[in-house]
Subunit: 252 residues, 2 copies
Amino acid sequence: MSKPLILITNDDGVFSKGISELIKLARPLGEILVVAPDKARSGQSSALTVTRPLLYDDIQVEDGLRIISCTGTPADCVKLAFSQQLPDVERVPDLVLSGINHGSNSSINVIYSGTMGAAIEGALHRAPSIGLSLCDHSDDADFSQALPHFRHIVERVLAWSLPQGVCLNVNAPVGEIKGIKVCRQAPGLWSNEFMKTLTPFDKHCFWLTGSFSNEEPGAVDTDEWALGEGLISVQPVQTDLTDYNLLKTLTF
Amino acid sequence: MSKPLILITNDDGVFSKGISELIKLARPLGEILVVAPDKARSGQSSALTVTRPLLYDDIQVEDGLRIISCTGTPADCVKLAFSQQLPDVERVPDLVLSGINHGSNSSINVIYSGTMGAAIEGALHRAPSIGLSLCDHSDDADFSQALPHFRHIVERVLAWSLPQGVCLNVNAPVGEIKGIKVCRQAPGLWSNEFMKTLTPFDKHCFWLTGSFSNEEPGAVDTDEWALGEGLISVQPVQTDLTDYNLLKTLTF
């Protein structure tokens, strides 16, 4: 049996430390195809490039590893890898790994995350898909404590697969890791979302920033709780956004 | 009691026909604040602008109506409207309306939709929020048959509100409308997603395109089914992406 084809992408760009660490992690587990953005594309959610064509460059090609830089968003990169239109990409990926993101994608941040946009895109293409993040934004974040746990999760998903249309949102706390916890998404709220400044022409302009709050701080089954306890959070994420509770009662 | 403040945005840009029709629809129902992208931002999902500041311009200000053009994404526009940092915007919106989109946002297209990214952002800010779309991409689409039904839905949501964290994805078919159906999201698949061409420098480039297929064509409770029957589909959309079925059984 041939080795699985593992697609790796991210939203911090193909030259970030997090994706290098993920490539090293995955290398022994299969044949690696990297298609990742040529620059940082944080906060891109499931955005697609619709008004321009995508371009790509081969960055590195060696036995069992090919690294491609792409001008698109994380979700574009996944679509392109599954399109079977890239030269010498002859099969569709068996597994999609996105990350390792520099920064948390827990709680409602899953909605804005380009890392998770790529994992969701993998799930929409019927492949088991995992977004991996470390709660440290710095360019030189230390992934060493998270890596053995991430590898355990990736190996289990390779062995088990995942139900169709579901992917995983995996977040690791910084520092010592005490275990892995399967969690629901904490309800959260961003406030004070902009820093207001003036342009040289005396116009107001607004830089995105903000303060995050966990809206259920007492709950002990959420991703935010797990991360606060030194646990890696694993949220199963669905691509069917229907609210089935409201579906039962809503009428017009 | 003061009139409700209704925020209107879209992803086709502030000068599109669909948003003009929505402003006309909403005008008798409250005070209208429009904060919408200065150009088309289709396929932007819940993307945010993180590396540049947002700028805005007042396009029109009159009694009960203010129209602001913004350099951001649909979700950025909603954040800015809720920020209470825009001059002379003294309260947060009571209702968010996004659209009317030129083109369908049914099935998995809800995931890529900037129209729905804005509605989801409204729900994250605790406001009842509705994304409205017509299944006609043309710039001069005819919204006339859908408008009375859209108005009915908006009035009901204004009267009832919606549960916290849930918004509505409303899609109308073209032509005669036979009613309104509350639906789940049809599972769908995009294939043949790129047109491959050559640049003048003989590099491959890829334009997003594709063929959509409904993966449950026999089901009679999905949005795709409803639209095919001449019904307006109303999907309740949740902002908690947790898959609660898998949550029960997944362990690591």
